[in-house]
């Protein structure tokens, strides 16, 4: 349950992170785009005025200076504000076709000298428009054979945008941190009842296992006494059969419960021989069911595990294959890098896909027999996990495959 809770927290914080990032990226993207558009409007207005709001009497080529003030309108904000022409920091350099400086049309900046401005503008001659040196917007345009480069300082206009960007980043980090702690509390409240239910289920299984054993012994003993006094009959035989089934169920319940407690005694277990022995033992049963059995068992594969537990795992896997195979069964055991990999495959009438639900307690697949308890593979997984191993099941093209790694 702890794993599920951690997964929930991780995925939830990931979703929050993605949503916040997308939202803030859009907001900041739009913000900067609008700043660029405002800057382009200004450079456009300057371009319309041959590079300056205020001109000498004639333009560099001797023609009359263009009209002024037409585009400005009353209002407090934006590039069209009449105050803009007084506050805008910019320069415009005119160049000949050969790239020689013809004239400094306008120079209203403090950051560079005129010569530096001319060099800066010359470096932009082959561009059209864009940002230069971070917060300067430029435009390159031609008018009657002369190339003009206008560079305007948008530092002040961009400052709020950068502030918003930084605040967004900090805000997102804070939101994620706060979100993490909130999720911590929420997930505990959500999962506490589930953990409690899981713990109660395990305790119930453990206690049921213990609580049933003595009554079953008594029922068996009283049945024996009855048979001794009155002789066996159908009823006593039926009682014995049912006792057998209950005992089998209890054994499976027992293995489900025991390894929850870590009640294991590890030793070097020769899993190759355990599997070979189990297959030898059931060879007749496979043959009587007409099942084709193949086995590829690497010799001397050992695992450090509880011998009884591993014996139980192998027995259960072999019995499962014997029970559900339609016509053929195969087992493969290999050892690599200190791990043992056991694969048991059988043809089965099941849909393709993951079949990991077969490991859930009291869960059976579609092809389950009527007398299936849904505990066999659950105990296998429980045991494998108690040994830090992995168990998985899948169906592909009608072949059910169990994979155990120890």
């Amino acid at each position: 349950m702890n794993k599920a809770e951690k997964k929930f927290r991780l995925y939830a914080i990931l979703v929050i992170f993605v949503l916040l990032t997308v939202l803030l990226a859009v907001i900041n993207g739009v913000n900067f785009t609008m700043a660029a558009a405002d800057a382009d409007e200004l450079t456009g207005m300057l371009a319309d005025r041959q590079g300056a709001f205020e001109h000498k009497e004639n333009a560099p080529d001797g023609t009359e200076a263009p009209p002024r003030d037409k585009d400005f309108r009353m209002g407090p904000m934006g590039p069209a504000s009449p105050e803009m022409k007084a506050s805008l920091r910019y320069f415009t350099i005119a160049f000949s076709d050969k790239g020689e400086t013809v004239e400094t049309v306008a120079f209203n900046v403090s950051a560079v000298t005129e010569e530096e401005a001319a060099e800066w503008a010359r470096s932009l001659l082959n561009q059209k428009t864009g940002w230069t040196r971070g917060t300067y917007r430029y435009r390159v345009y031609k008018d009657r054979g002369t190339t003009f480069v206008t560079v305007i300082d948008q530092g002040r206009e961009l400052l709020p945008s950068f502030r918003i960007l930084i605040i967004s980043a900090i805000g997102e980090a804070l939101a994620l941190a706060i979100g993490w702690f909130v999720l911590l509390g929420i997930s505990r409240r959500i999962y506490a009842p589930l953990e409690e239910a899981d713990r109660k289920q395990k305790n119930f299984i453990k206690n049921a296992n213990k609580e049933f054993r003595i009554p079953l012994t008594i029922i068996g003993g009283d049945t024996e006494l009855t048979e001794r006094k009155y002789g066996p009959d159908d009823r006593t035989r039926s009682i014995r059969r049912q006792l057998g089934k209950l005992n089998e169920l209890l054994d499976k319940l027992g293995s489900v419960g025991v390894f929850d407690d870590g009640d294991m005694s590890p030793a070097e277990v020769p899993i190759s021989e355990y599997l070979a022995a189990a297959l030898d033992r059931e060879a007749e049963a496979f043959a009587s069911r007409g099942l084709e059995l193949t086995a590829d068992i690497a010799p001397d594969v050992t695992v450090n595990a509880d011998p009884e537990a591993i014996g139980g795992v192998i027995d259960e896997i072999v019995c499962n294959a014997l029970k559900y195979a339609l016509s053929r069964v195969s087992f493969r055991l290999s050892g690599e890098n200190g791990y043992a990999l056991l694969e048991a495959s059988n043809d089965a009438d099941l849909p393709d896909g993951s079949a990991d639900q077969a490991f859930d307690r009291f869960t059976t697949l579609q092809n389950a027999k009527e007398d299936s308890s849904g505990l066999g593979l659950s105990s296998v997984k429980q045991t494998v996990r108690a040994h830090n191993g992995r168990a998985s099941a899948s169906v592909s093209e009608g072949i059910f495959t169990l994979r155990i790694t120890l």
């Binding site: 213990k210 003993g221 009283d222 006494l225 027992g254 025991v258 009640d263 020769p270 014996g311």
Partner: protein, 198 residues
């Protein structure tokens, strides 16, 4: 034969007193540890069968008292008997897990008493096994099942993976006394005793 049967469940007591009376001999029933200890003090028994969950007195005290009078003890338990149970002290002569049949109990009683009264001694590699004493000579105690596993190994019988817990416990006990003998699994042969080189 006289048997002391101590268990907290009256139905179980009643049922098995009758069965054991018929199969083995006089059976005295005790409902709790106090009754069991009192019976042990005042009467002689050939064997004690006690439930691990007997109330009032810990079952281990009953084992100690019975062993003090050289009376073997079989302990009934509602959990599977793993290698951990086989190495705890004081160790009973045998563990029996619920549910069991009357036949299983009778067999365990007879087998335990037969071994307890035998004069048998086994050589197991570099150690000796005191069969009537249910122990490795100079070492820890053994249960009936462990002794049967050893007998099977020495007499050429086959020990299977069902006895894996016993094998683990035996190797642990052999290791504790510094023996070089171990029980190992051999391909195609099953378990066998080997005495490792120093």
């Amino acid at each position: 034969m006289k048997i002391l049967f101590a268990a907290p469940d009256r139905d179980l007591l009643g049922c098995y007193k009758e069965l054991l009376d018929a199969d083995l001999g006089e059976t005295v029933a005790a409902f709790d540890g106090t009754q069991a200890l009192s019976a042990l003090f005042s009467e002689s028994f050939d064997i004690v069968i006690v439930d691990r969950g007997i109330p009032r007195v810990d079952y281990r005290k009953i084992i100690e008292r019975a062993h003090g009078k050289s009376v073997p003890v079989i302990v009934l338990t509602d959990a599977p008997v793993g290698s951990r149970r086989l190495t705890e002290e004081p160790l009973p002569n045998e563990w029996l897990s619920y549910p069991f049949t009357p036949g299983r109990v009778a067999d365990a009683v007879r087998d335990t008493l037969e071994k307890a009264s035998s004069a048998e001694r086994m050589e197991l590699g570099d150690v000796g096994i005191d069969v009537p004493g249910f122990r490795i000579e100079g070492g820890p105690r053994l249960t009936l099942r462990e002794i049967n596993v050893l007998l099977s190994l020495l007499n050429g019988g086959r020990v299977t993976t069902d006895d894996g817990a016993c094998v683990c416990a035996l190797n642990d006990k052999l290791g504790r006394i510094g023996s070089r003998t171990r029980i190992r699994y051999r391909a195609g042969k099953g378990f066998e005793t080997v005495t490792e080189n120093e």
